[in-house]
């Protein structure tokens, strides 16, 4: 990736300015025209390099007090079906199939967010009934030591 794009990525991983023409300000900082800049950002989005552009919320502050990580042991031949089903819940923000180190049985990982414990339990019960995982493990967050966005370059 060329170094100008790196500079742009560096700038876009921060906050966009709260002014009438925010891209004009970033364009000036990075030495491009506003139209050119908007075109480049649009392309980065289309290519999936930018996964999302918008507001990132603090989920606790936004009212989602119950956040749990649930790990599931799903048979290998069912992971795709289970992954797609899990992803369909709006309460589930992240769903990953992960490698399983020695003696660690869990391969599917879901982050579930709810306003109440009941919200979360309903989702867990639904998935557990449907895929009958031989084991699953639910861990609640006790304390947040760090939560930030990645800083590239």
């Amino acid at each position: 990736m060329d170094s100008w794009v790196e500079t742009l990525i560096k700038r876009l991983q921060g906050d966009i300015p709260l002014v009438t023409e925010p891209f004009a300000e970033i364009a000036q900082e990075t030495g491009r025209s506003q139209q050119e800049l908007i075109g480049i950002i649009t392309r980065l989005k289309q290519d999936g390099v930018i996964r999302r552009f918008g507001a990132i919320l603090g989920h606790r502050q936004a009212g989602f007090a119950h956040n749990v990580l649930v790990m599931w042991e799903i048979p290998e031949n069912m992971v795709d079906e289970a992954g797609k089903y899990m992803a369909s819940f709006r309460e589930i923000s992240h769903c990953y199939l992960r490698e399983t180190p020695d003696h660690w049985p869990y391969n599917m990982y879901t982050m579930i967010h709810g306003r109440s414990e009941e919200d979360v339990n309903k989702v867990v019960a639904d998935i557990a009934a449907r895929f009958e995982p031989s084991r699953y493990r639910l861990v609640r967050s006790v304390r947040e030591f760090k939560k930030t966005s990645m800083t590239y370059y």
Binding site: Q13, D15, V49, G58, S93, Y96, L97, K146
Partner: protein, 154 residues
């Protein structure tokens, strides 16, 4: 937070208008003035409800490597270990969880070798063993929260 704030959170999490006057378009969609929108966003940021408005990059598409990590840490040493882990800029999430694996964090690095170097550093310096759980496949990664029915906190 009132109804207008919740509407702002909902709209601001969606596709940000990539055009000359994005805030004006968002304000029009909500039905308030651009000035009011910017004032309210400033306040929501101060409260920590909005952490940031900007781009979220796909670390893999940028050639970076990332992995979820878990460790069993002596509860007496947990804060100290967490603080050391937090000094690594590639650690973006770090949580205490109610499990025998009581510390969970994510690490992103420029390559898997670099991630491995940092994890070994943590293991040696903190006297812990870290379980590495890199992703094989991503089914969902979405940080948009549905604001329907959120509590009205005045």
């Amino acid at each position: 937070m009132d109804k207008v704030d919740r509407k702002i959170l909902e709209v601001a999490q969606q596709e940000f208008p990539l055009q000359v006057r994005p805030w004006a378009e968002i304000a029009a969609e909500i039905g308030i003035s651009e000035t009011e929108l910017l004032d309210r966003i400033r306040k929501l940021k101060e409260l920590g409800v909005i952490r940031r408005i900007g781009a979220v990059f796909d670390s893999r598409k940028l050639g970076f490597y990332s992995t979820l990590c878990a460790a069993k840490v002596d509860p007496k040493k947990l804060e100290e270990v967490a603080a050391y882990i937090n000094t690594f800029p590639g650690v973006t999430h770090n949580y205490e969880r109610d499990d025998e694996y009581n510390l969970w964090f994510t690490l992103t690095a420029s390559s898997s070798a670099e991630a491995e170097r940092q994890l070994r550093d943590i293991e040696e310096n903190c006297g812990i063993k870290i379980m590495r759980l890199p992703a094989r496949k991503v089914y969902k990664i979405e940080v948009v929260f549905n604001m329907d029915g959120a509590e009205d906190n005045g």
